[in-house]
């Protein structure tokens, strides 16, 4: 029964492949010129003594562990103790481009317009999780890595390993050929990590590339900041200034920077041919640091340059109320360019702003960009001119951006296959895994269950796709061809939304975030002012929307401090046909995730009619009727009233609700989910059922006191995903912190009944007479949990190494049964991360379980009374005598977390009331012994169970009193036939 599940196979077959895990410094970041990072002082790997197969690799500040399996490597990495020195004081602050911008000179002051654009060091962590493998020998290096910038990676690998660049073979694990990217991603970082480890241990090493590498994305920040300034006179640009903040527009792999073999950069201002602008202004100042690196990626520089210049011109045009096309034509002298841009504009039927009104949540916009780049011999006349016009559709709610039309004119002296270019761009810029606009699943998206967890989970190695059946990409174009591609989308996005994006990428999450902020968006710490744009009815529509958002925020602020809330006018119950079946179905899932029915239904009563009693230190509370009955339920609640209750804990009539209703968690729910939940609840049958009066002690019966409580303890901010974490983690965090309100039971509360955070988050608590065990590092489970075990427990109600869900957790599991597998997996993943648990049960855990079961086989001496009670009442089902029986408990008592707890409560509850599987049929049931055992007998039995099955723990004290206390409010009678 206790068999570890099969391990996923390594997609790349290499004899003797070993597995590496790298350990980054606690602090490291790119300051624009160099890596500022903690210095490694000492490595203590004594915990690994005796593990011959495990090697710790140290190279300056680069540290990694190599082991025969990935699990062993991960475990070893946890046990190595690294001591780091603080990073050198950040003198870089004075070098930041913003500071420079404000200090700069009179030149900037004379400019009527100034703007800064940025380019990230890593556009994303990668396209999909996968293995990155390196094999090194004396003279050559072979690397399987999904890179978008193979030439840059080759240079990094050569510098890091000392291997001649000619002798480095790069292989693409997907078999599709390397994607031409617009910038680097963490495939390069993983490749250098693998190469350094492989070289050190002399064997092939595989490194797992997944969303964990997003930490590198954050640490490396921006590769380039571009400041543009202009002076205009009568809508004519008289002075144009362009300045690059950094010598290099790209950042080498983290592993290379950490091991300190990166070639030093020389500085010096130089005008550069590849910063060529096709436009003619009266004065043009172009300056850039000239960096001398072994490899200077001019392609990336020109893409960044074109993005900044074309976005800036677009901003100038909008600021001056000039057509962006006309502004460009005004400053173009090149005849071929003028002809091209004119022909593209007429072909695309150019007109901005797009006047079509938004349909539903979808806003439309159109953008233009133009570039002329010198040819390979730095000759401009022979270079490529290209003019782009793009139409986009932006979904305001989801943040999804769709490139609906693209017209590209390219003048390279040869026939240009526009259709093919467009197809390439569709595949490269828009298709899911590879694109600039690559869409990642949103944290509040409800899976329809068609995709399995394995397909979407970030930790499961997916086999490399075979090119057959996959849309084959046309042969690659030079990166320069894509130079206007980023700007054209940024300009179209501005036309659609009125929000200026000054730093790629434009992923759905960032677009949504930017729309929510209603500001120009050039990064997480964006402070730039909102882009201005003139005319168009659509714009004023958009602005109204912003205004509404601002008002909500102000109202939200007011709600927190003002004790007497107004009632929201009652409405007639919304018609059942008001909401679509899809919305109601989504609402059903939201209700299941929030487990509304568990608290709003009394045992044996109609669903959601309330009346369930909650014993709190402040008195007894009763849940209310949330069926759409107009008199006793929520039938006359408008959505506004419902949302206020869910986010701020205020009833429709203005009374404050008590936080036993976990609005503190529900506030994190997204708007879309709350609307769906409202639709679902309103579509349910109305049942009249008045709620019992609460019996709270003074002063807790004064609801108005909740106003200062909320001001102190309630944060009504909706959930914001952490971009450094995987989608799976963010989905799990959204469900667990919000709707799932796990912490409502599993986090201890302070004297005022507010959940504690920080280290006390998930530290366990007593709720409703039961103990909700800790879900963080304090977990007392005799065998440590794994993510898979948590998943089994939440999905099926039981886990072989931990037992069954019982007590108040049983209805939770029953509610989760409604959710798609991916969502339950996400919650398990999130909780496992809080515990620091591994993904799978490891052989050691099974061995430990077997050992615990074996060591409890004998009855302890001196507990004969307890032994007799156990033999009579429990042993028939709870002792494994080697003979199969259907009613035998599937999990040994020696693995029962409750017996290891500091408190006997759950054990006493289980003995008194039994375990009932009506919530999750088949998970196992046990009769209650409340009527057949006296308090003394229950106490004796509990003491015996503790001594026999948790011998490492101290005996429980004052058991009999505890039994008597717990027996009172929970007078569960055993079922009799």
């Amino acid at each position: 029964m206790l068999e570890p599940t099969a391990k996923p196979a390594l997609p790349i077959e290499l004899a003797g492949t070993r597995f590496g895990v790298v350990m980054r410094p606690p602090h490291y970041r790119w300051d624009g010129e160099r890596l500022i990072c903690s210095r490694l002082r000492q490595v203590d790997d004594s915990a690994l003594a005796g593990l011959e197969e495990v090697r710790v690799v140290v190279d300056e500040d680069f540290v990694g562990v190599v082991a025969p399996t990935i699990e062993a490597a991960r475990n070893a990495a946890k046990r190595v103790v690294l001591t780091w020195d603080e990073p050198p004081a950040a003198k870089a602050a004075t070098r930041s481009p913003k500071a420079k911008l404000t200090n700069t000179s009179s030149a900037a002051k004379r400019d009527t317009h100034t703007q800064t654009y940025a380019w990230p060091s890593r556009l994303r962590w990668g396209d999909a999780p996968g293995w990155v493998v390196a094999r090194a020998d004396q003279a050559s290096l072979e690397v399987w890595a999904p890179t978008a910038t193979p030439e840059a990676l080759r240079v990094d690998l050569s510098l890091a390993t000392g291997c001649d660049a000619e002798r480095i073979v790069l292989r693409d694990p997907s078999g599709l050929g390397f994607a031409t990217g617009l910038g680097r991603h963490c495939g390069d970082d993983a490749a250098v990590d693998a190469a350094l480890l492989a070289q050190a241990v002399g064997a092939p090493v595989a490194v797992w590339l997944d969303a964990d590498y997003a930490r590198d994305v954050r640490a490396l920040g921006r590769a380039q900041c571009m400041t543009l300034g202009a002076s205009l006179d009568a809508a004519h640009v008289t002075r144009f200034r362009y300045r690059q903040a950094h010598a290099q527009g790209e950042v080498a792999a983290v592993g290379l920077l950490l091991c300190g073999r990166e070639a030093p950069t020389r500085h010096g201002d130089t005008d550069r041919a590849d910063l060529y602008s096709p436009y003619r202004f009266e004065q043009t100042h172009v300056s850039a640091h000239r960096g001398a690196r072994a490899y200077q990626n001019d392609d990336s520089t020109s893409i960044q340059h074109t993005f900044a210049r074309e976005s800036f011109l677009d901003e100038l045009a909008h600021a001056e109320g000039v057509d962006p096309l006309a502004l460009r034509q005004r400053h173009l002298e090149d005849a071929r360019g003028l002809e091209l841009i004119g022909s593209v504009a007429s072909q695309a039927d150019w007109a901005v702003p797009v006047t079509e009104p938004p349909v539903g949540d979808v806003m439309r916009g159109r953008g233009l960009a133009y570039a002329q780049l010198p040819d390979r011999h730095q000759r401009l006349d022979g270079g490529v001119r290209s003019a782009w016009i793009a139409d986009v559709e932006v979904n305001r709610t989801t943040g999804d951006v769709r490139l609906t039309r693209l017209v590209v004119g390219q003048d390279s002296g040869e026939q240009v296959d526009t259709a093919r270019l467009q197809q390439t761009l569709q595949a490269r810029v828009l298709s899911k895994p590879q694109g600039l606009l690559g869409r990642t699943p949103a944290f509040d998206e409800w899976d329809d269950g068609r995709t399995t967890a394995v397909e979407r989970a970030s930790f499961t190695p997916a086999p490399a796709p075979i090119s057959k059946g996959v849309e084959t990409l046309p042969e690659r174009f030079d990166d320069t061809d894509f130079a206007p591609g980023v700007a054209v989308i940024a300009n179209a996005l501005f036309d659609a939304t009125g929000v200026r994006f000054r730093e790629p990428p434009f992923t759905a999450g960032r677009v949504r975030q930017a729309l929510a902020m209603g500001e120009a968006f050039d990064g997480d710490d964006a402070t730039a002012q909102r882009g201005t744009r003139k005319t168009s009815a659509k714009l004023s529509g958009t602005r109204r929307w912003w205004a509404a958002a601002a008002l909500t925020t102000v109202a939200g602020g007011a709600v927190m401090a003002w004790p007497f809330k107004g009632a929201i006018a009652p409405i007639a119950r919304p018609a059942a046909t008001l909401y679509s079946a899809e919305t109601i179905e989504r609402g059903r899932l939201v209700a299941a995730a929030g487990d509304c029915a568990a608290c709003h239904t009394v045992a044996g009563g109609a669903v959601n009619t309330g009346g369930h009693a909650f014993e709190t230190p402040f008195g007894t509370l009763y849940s209310t009727n949330i069926t759409p009955d107009e008199a006793t339920g929520i039938g006359n609640w408008s959505y506004a009233a419902f949302e206020r209750a869910m986010r701020h804990g205020i009833s429709r009539d203005g009374r404050h609700l008590y936080p036993a209703f976990p609005y503190t968690a529900f506030a994190k729910t997204s708007d879309a989910d709350l609307q769906a939940l409202y639709a679902y609840l309103m579509a349910q049958p109305a049942v009249a059922a008045p709620a019992p009066e609460n019996a709270l002690t003074f002063p807790f019966n004064l609801r108005a006191l909740m106003a200062p409580w909320n001001a102190l303890y309630h944060d009504p901010t909706p959930f914001v995903p952490n971009p450094a974490q995987s989608d799976l983690y963010n989905r799990g965090a959204y469900l667990a912190e919000g709707l799932g309100h796990c912490s409502a039971c599993h986090s201890p509360r302070n004297a005022m009944g507010a959940e504690q955070g920080g280290e006390r988050y998930f530290a366990g608590a007593l709720v409703d007479g039961w103990e909700a065990p800790p879900l963080n590092a304090l977990s007392r489970s005799p065998v440590p949990w794994s993510e898979n075990a948590l998943f089994d427990y939440l999905r099926h109600g039981s886990s072989p190494l931990h037992g069954v869900a019982s007590g108040p957790m049983a209805p939770v599991v029953a509610g989760l049964a409604e959710l798609p597998e991916y969502d339950v997996r996400a919650i398990a993943h999130y909780v496992a991360q809080q515990m620091g648990a591994p993904v799978e049960d490891e052989p050691a855990q099974y061995a430990q379980a077997a050992q615990l079961a074996a060591s409890s086989a004998a009855s302890p001496s001196g507990q004969e009374e307890g032994a007799r009670l156990f033999e009579g009442a429990c042993a028939a089902c709870h002792l494994d005598n080697g003979v199969p029986a259907f009613t035998k408990a599937s999990t040994a008592l020696a693995l029962n977390t409750n017996l290891y707890s500091e408190r006997p409560d759950n054990v006493i509850h289980s003995i008194l009331g039994g375990v009932h599987d009506d919530a999750v049929p088949g998970s196992g049931s046990m009769p209650g012994f409340a009527d057949s055992f006296s308090d003394t007998q229950v106490a004796t039995l509990a003491a015996y169970l503790r001594a026999r099955f948790a011998p490492s723990e101290p005996p429980w004290q004052q058991l009999e009193q505890r039994v008597a206390a717990l027996r009172q409010p929970h007078n569960n009678t055993p079922s009799t036939p």
């Binding site: 042993a875 028939a876 089902c877 199969p884 029986a885 009613t887 599987d917 049931s925 046990m926 009769p927």
Partner: protein, 165 residues
């Protein structure tokens, strides 16, 4: 709630609450009185039935928990009027005093023989350890179990021989 249970080879559709104990359904709704109500807490074994051929205590199982499974009671052990070898062995060995526990003893031995053709004396004791008998007929019950091994083996042989013939 409507449940469909398969008992002794027949399907029964019942309108009972899902948490009704299986023993109550068997005795009250289906009038199968082989399984006895003893302690009601899974302690004595008098209520034992077979679920998918494995012994189970019907008083602590809900009816919903055995949906889709094959339930066999003492009443259904005999095939075409011919007693099960375990039943025959208990008659031959005169193993009954008051007989209240015998349902559980027989079902437990049947379950054991379903999994181990020739169990050791220790295995028989383990299988019957938590079946209570208050008349003190343990010695006869044990010899009935040993006899059951022989009778069961004989019947197996006959059935195989019959199949060949």
């Amino acid at each position: 709630m409507t449940l469909t249970l398969r008992v002794n080879g027949h399907d029964h559709t019942l309108a009972v609450p899902a948490d009704t104990p299986l023993l109550a359904v068997l005795r009250n709704d289906l009038a199968l009185n082989g399984p006895k109500y003893g302690c009601g807490l899974g302690e004595c074994g008098a209520c034992s039935v077979l679920v998918d051929g494995v012994v189970a205590r019907a008083c602590v199982l809900t009816a919903a928990a055995v949906q889709g499974r094959e339930v066999t009671t003492l009443d259904g052990l005999a095939v075409e009027g011919r007693l099960d070898p375990v039943q025959q062995a208990f008659i031959d060995a005169q193993a009954a005093q008051c007989g209240y526990c015998l349902n559980g003893m027989i079902m437990s031995v049947r379950s054991l023989l379903n999994h181990v053709a020739t169990p050791s004396a220790a295995q028989i004791r383990a299988a019957l350890e938590h079946n209570l008998c208050r008349c003190g007929t343990h010695v006869e019950i044990l010899s009935a179990a040993h006899l059951a091994i022989e009778l069961d083996a004989q019947q197996c042989k006959q059935l195989q021989g019959g199949a060949h013939a």
